[in-house]
């Protein structure tokens, strides 16, 4: 097992009380597997990716849980051990808006070389930078340019090159394609697919674009209000979603055939002030008595597919 998140709780203190961004979340990624994480805005997707990278800072805190990386709990490590052995070396991250992740005043190449230097890359920096640029299908001369001289797609590729700098076995891609045009989105996704195939790296892709996700992932997790609503293989999630929330999400995917996008009525509850029972109950078309009282646990409905819903 590459990554195993167990019963993770991440809270942000706020004047209104703790914002329970993640409240008992489990997630597994196997070697060479591409896993998707989807859910609407504010459900805690980025929080999970930041927790795996140990980037939760006050007012946030990890309340409880384990994050096992190749069997070692990274939450128990000292900051130096994590920095020396894991950060970027084993766990790299392309995150939301990381195309703005380049410092404006240095060239792309300089910044990639800085990463190589920080992580004590043994080989020649210049040729490594060149290889990395080729790996993400960019012309190596682009390394000599400044960030503002690149298009959004080029910057995103360059950032992926930076993420791959020291050959991490695990890559988190938090909304790697937001703010890019559709063709570029597909290209980036194909690039990630190819990297998985050629280098065998495990990838956790976070997005709310389910259509894009269905193209590339082996398995997918659906997160709602800081907890898993459903998980399963790509087939199971996209072809036969069980949870009403997943069904709603998939119904929200615009297609050429559908004349109207269905969407899900209502809002996600306030994470600082959660209602009892199923957190989706207020918006659920199938809500029953029990839903408002008791919280459903994940239940296996099929080999590999698990749903937290009183319907099953």
């Amino acid at each position: 097992m590459m990554l195993s998140v167990e019963d993770l709780r991440v809270y942000f203190s706020s004047p209104r009380g703790d914002v329970k961004a993640l409240d008992g979340v489990d997630l597994q990624v196997s070697e060479g597997e591409v896993v998707g994480l989807a859910g609407e805005s504010g459900c805690g997707k980025s929080t999970l990716s930041l927790a795996i990278s140990r980037l939760i800072y006050p007012p946030g805190r990890i309340e409880s849980g384990k994050i096992l990386f190749q069997g070692n709990d990274i939450l128990k490590m000292g900051p130096n051990e994590f920095r020396a052995g894991y950060r970027w070396k084993k766990i790299a991250m392309i995150f939301q808006g990381s195309m703005n992740g380049f410092t404006p005043v240095f060239t792309i190449g300089e910044q990639i070389e800085e990463v190589l230097e920080i992580h004590q890359y043994a080989g020649d920096f210049a040729s490594r930078t060149k290889d990395l640029m080729k790996m993400v299908e960019l012309d190596p001369v682009i390394a000599e340019r400044y960030p503002h001289e690149l298009s959004g797609g080029q910057k995103q590729r360059a950032f992926i090159a930076m993420a791959l700098a020291v050959d991490p076995p695990f890559l988190i891609a938090d909304e790697p394609t937001t703010a890019l045009d559709v063709v570029t989105q597909v290209n980036i996704m194909n690039l990630l697919k190819r990297l998985r195939k050629e280098k065998g790296i495990s990838i956790l892709i976070i997005t709310h674009d389910l259509a894009l996700l269905s193209e590339i992932v082996d398995r997918a997790y659906i997160l709602y209000a800081g907890r898993m609503a459903e998980l399963g293989t790509a087939e199971q999630i996209f072809k036969e979603p069980k949870h009403p929330y997943t069904q709603g999400l998939i119904g929200s995917i615009p297609t050429l055939q559908s004349t109207k996008i269905e969407g899900i009525a209502g809002f996600m509850p306030d994470l600082a002030n959660l209602p009892p029972g199923c957190k989706f109950a207020q918006r659920c078309p199938y809500a029953m008595q029990v839903c408002g009282k008791e919280e459903p646990l994940l239940k296996e409905t099929k080999e590999g597919q698990r749903v937290a819903c009183w319907l099953y």
Partner: protein, 450 residues
């Protein structure tokens, strides 16, 4: 940045005023002796200056005042005579003095300055219309001021009055001696008005031994003085302002740079750390900010006599939080930039993150606020001197204003004693404000953009 600065008209004017202040500062060091502050406090040094005298140029506006003129007798020549086997020398020098005032001066004095032992010094004072007064000083003392009331001046004057009026007067007042020196020749000399024109003064020193004469001043103490007048001890205001300039700038600059650097580093780190450390640091800054600086400084200065450095440190210690709050805001905005988060995710060491992202934003802010903070420093330091708790043994503008206040200059209408120091404080603050605002305008978009 410099190019943009030079495009701003107010910045250019600021630079020009600053250049003038810089030249005056240099001039102050060159022209004033290093112990000037002691001289300033020593009343004797200002004996031959008119007291409470307005600036000389008020006469241009029809105010009837007499100018103060100091003429140094230089260019001494000597001749040696031999009479009956013994040698004696005569040293002579002469000068002319243009007198255009319609009022009589208050005093005349001659200060012979020499080494050696002359037996007599003879002054010959020739009026514009001709006719002269002769004053003989027997065995004079070097450095002594011989004034109108000295017996030698009085007897010279009596002799002249006898010539003009045929009457011999032995008891002459100071005013009468001065009238004799400057009045219209004729029988009515003692009740006449001053004769305008070119007077000439020649001095002869008679000695049997060798004498070395140095520039001996002949001082006509008028009722107005120089560019900015004098205070009630006769001290020229312009000299005081010149002496106060370097320390004003020094205090202003030191206060500003210390408080800005401390504040920016503190606030920058506070914003950079964030979370609990930030809250604690902000609390500290706010507590100090809430302390009223002036009363606090007054209380401290009652317990210790301030030196200029202690004063600077105290003011800086109370004013840095203002800059800390600004720097924190800048740091927080930098911190939320994606590339700063990216650097952290990549494991870029924090000192590097600080140097490459935070410093470039904070340095321009530091420059702008240092410039803008100088007037505040100057003002606070002068205020302390004004209320009498500034550093002792230092000529300060605030100190001059304090003396004016104590002497009730405003009540007596000695406006020059109040106006010029006040103007000086404003003028010294102005260029920094103009430059600072121009800098801020240039820097502000850089800090907020990107």
């Amino acid at each position: 940045m410099w190019k943009e600065l030079l495009k701003s008209r107010s910045a250019l004017l600021g630079i020009a005023i600053l250049a003038v202040l810089a030249i005056l500062t240099v001039y102050s060091f060159v022209a004033l002796p290093s112990n000037f502050s002691l001289t300033w406090q020593n009343g004797e040094a200002w004996e031959l200056y008119p007291v409470d005298a307005p600036p000389q140029w008020v006469s241009l506006f029809g105010v009837n005042t007499a100018a103060t003129v100091t003429t140094n007798l230089t260019g001494w020549t000597s001749q040696t005579y031999s009479v009956g086997g013994s040698n004696f020398s005569v040293y002579s020098a002469s000068t002319t003095i243009k007198w255009s005032s319609k009022a009589f001066p208050q005093e005349v004095a001659f200060v012979p300055t020499y080494s050696g032992a002359p037996s007599t010094i003879t002054l010959t004072w020739t009026k514009p219309q001709g006719g002269s007064i002769t004053v003989s000083l027997a065995e004079p003392a070097s450095g002594e001021a011989y004034e109108a009331q000295s017996p030698d001046f009085v007897s010279g004057a009596s002799q002249y009055i006898l010539n003009q009026t045929g009457e011999y007067q032995t008891q002459l007042s100071k005013g009468q001696v001065i009238s004799t020196f400057f009045g219209q020749p004729g029988p009515g000399i003692l009740s006449s008005s001053p004769a305008q024109g070119t007077y000439s003064l020649s001095v002869q020193v008679l000695s049997s031994g060798a004498v070395t004469m140095s520039g001996s001043p002949f001082v006509i103490v008028g009722t107005s003085y120089g560019l900015m007048g004098t205070d009630s001890q006769g001290r020229p205001i312009d000299l005081g302002l010149l002496a106060g300039l370097p320390n004003a700038l020094e205090v202003g600059f030191l206060v500003s740079i210390i408080s800005v650097v401390v504040g920016i580093v503190f606030g920058g780190l506070s914003g950079y750390f964030g979370a609990r450390k930030d809250s604690l640091m902000q609390w500290v800054a706010l507590v100090i900010l809430a302390m009223p600086a002036l009363p606090f400084l007054v209380v401290i200065s009652f317990t210790t006599r301030l030196s200029i450095l202690v004063e600077v440190l105290l003011i800086a210690a109370l004013s840095w939080p203002f800059y800390a709050i600004i720097a924190r805001t800048v740091a927080l905005s930098v911190k939320s930039q994606t590339f700063v988060e990216a650097d952290k995710a990549m494991g870029v060491p924090s000192y590097r993150v600080f140097a490459s992202h935070f410093m470039p934003r904070l340095v321009p802010v530091t420059v702008a606020y240092t410039v803008l903070g100088i007037p505040g420093g100057i003002l606070l330091a002068e205020t302390l001197s004004f209320i009498g708790v500034g550093p002792v043994n230092l000529v300060t503008w605030g100190g001059i204003l304090d003396a004016a206040f104590v002497s009730q200059a405003a009540v007596f209408g000695f406006w020059w004693w109040v106006v010029f120091p006040g103007l000086m404080i404003i003028i010294s603050a102005l260029p920094f404000v103009m430059l600072g605002f121009a800098l801020e305008r240039i820097i502000a978009p850089r800090v907020s953009a990107k």
